[in-house]
Subunit: 102 residues, 2 copies
């Protein structure tokens, strides 16, 4: 299964902001993205590296700049995990209810 650091990638608010921005703007450079946050370009670049490691963004060199693009697929893993927990929980509630209704 794909990198489990997706959860980690989502933990930081700045990173979530970057994802949000990229969800709405096709592609962007580290510099552009840094302007969306109160941080330097390098800080943004580090976050983008984290997101890239988690498989959430694609990097693509275009001349002297690097354009980042969202690849939201790994988010499905998170949703899936949540579903599983939810399902298990529901099962548990069910069996408890059945037990109590005996």
């Amino acid at each position: 299964m794909p990198p489990p650091d997706v959860f980690d990638a989502l933990a930081d608010p700045h990173r979530r902001a970057l994802i949000g921005f990229l969800a709405a703007h096709e592609t962007a450079t580290a510099g552009e993205l840094a302007q969306q946050l109160p941080v330097t370009r390098q800080a943004a670049a580090k976050h983008l590296e984290t997101l890239h490691a988690a498989g959430l963004v694609e990097r693509r060199r275009a001349g002297r700049e690097v354009r980042y693009q969202l690849t939201p697929a790994p988010l499905a893993d998170v949703s899936e995990w949540i579903s599983k927990v939810g399902a298990e929980w529901d099962d548990r509630l069910d069996s408890l209810r059945r037990y109590l209704e005996r």
Copy 2:
């Protein structure tokens, strides 16, 4: 909107393990939960405190022990956020496709 530290709470693997265990076992004490992980009771208690702050578990004193119970509701917020990002992304792809098809 409820505590945004749900993302933070989910970032740690041990914490996710606790959630998984609680999803399957109704209630448990900090001690019991600590036995599921290679950490001390205190470490587990700290994680449980984090989960509690995120609204993911309920604490309930029963005599000399404290039983923890899962309250998975806040997970819905995470799912929702993911859905929003996904939706926005799809919209973007759509408008791009429309643009290219002109």
